[in-house]
């Protein structure tokens, strides 16, 4: 008895929406970045599951996972740099208090 594809996709969907809720709900900018990482990882799980279990001949899905890794690394580096430079201007990481660009 093997685990069906649907179970993997369901875990992926649940983790994605947990991350989505975290982005919408939390105030700390670093936690929001962490939740974005969770969402990217959930997408990775769906890609790998479809690539391995949906009967494709070549495994193109895994290649997209590699690119998602690259994007995630670049995103977290630039995101943390933006948070740190905003923090240096005013020492807050609460996204509600970072409103200096508000018109």
């Amino acid at each position: 008895m093997t685990v069906p594809l649907g179970a993997y996709v369901a875990v992926s969907a649940v983790l994605f929406f947990i991350g989505c809720a975290g982005v919408l709900v939390r105030r700390n900018a670093v936690v929001i970045l962490m939740c974005v990482e969770l969402m990217l990882n959930a997408a990775n799980l769906a890609l790998v599951a479809f690539s391995r279990k949906y009967g494709s001949i070549d495994e193109r899905g895994s290649v997209f996972v590699v690119f998602v890794f690259v994007i995630a690394a670049a995103e977290v580096a630039v995101g943390l740099a933006i948070i740190l430079s905003a923090y240096r201007n005013r020492p807050v990481v609460d996204v509600d208090q970072i409103h200096q660009m508000k018109g």
Binding site: V9, L38, D58
Partner: protein, 175 residues
């Protein structure tokens, strides 16, 4: 005696780890604990990749997510101070609305996702040959673009965080 029950049991344990870790990242107020639980979630996800037969991706996951990204996030937690605040201030004001909205979208999607059925299993073997063949033939150009993107992100992060304080630069030169 067969060991057919091992795979569902391992999958269930990993699924519980992934979902509990993700929920803890959202719900816990202590950020350092949240970052470490995020690493735990990524480790459980690597276990799922192994279960799916994608060992190379699992290795990448451990190296990049558990290694690099968690350390970066921990540095971010270290450099920014988010003091002790009352519990109500961890969450945004729109929390109930957001939770209702996300649940309204999530529950149908999660139920729908069970409807996918898997194809008959193919003969075994790791995912490295197929992955390498795709990366270095069809996806060679996007692969190069990805390396340029990483270079741009590195330069951008240095530019964004580097101080250009003239006094400090003079001080550093004198040292």
């Amino acid at each position: 005696m067969t060991f057919d029950f091992v795979e569902p049991v391992v999958f269930a344990l990993l699924a519980i780890g992934v979902i509990a870790g993700g929920a803890a990242v959202v719900l816990l107020s202590r950020i350092t604990a949240g970052a470490l639980l995020m690493a735990f979630t990524f480790l459980c996800m690597a276990g799922m990749f192994v279960l799916l037969g994608a060992e190379t991706i699992a290795a990448f996951q451990v190296l990049i997510y558990v290694g690099a990204i968690t350390v970066l996030i921990l540095y971010g937690v270290m450099f920014t101070k988010f003091g002790d605040r009352p519990r109500a201030l961890f969450f945004q004001r729109q929390t109930p609305l957001a939770v209702v909205f996300v649940a309204a979208v999530a529950i149908p999607v999660a139920l729908f996702s069970f409807s996918f059925t898997s194809a008959p299993p193919r003969p075994g073997g790791g995912d490295l040959p197929a992955l390498a063949t795709s990366v270095f033939t069809d996806f060679a150009f996007p692969f190069e673009i990805a390396s340029v993107l990483l270079l741009a992100a590195m330069v951008g992060a240095i530019v964004l965080t580097g101080r250009d304080d003239p006094e400090e630069a003079a001080l550093r030169r004198r040292r």
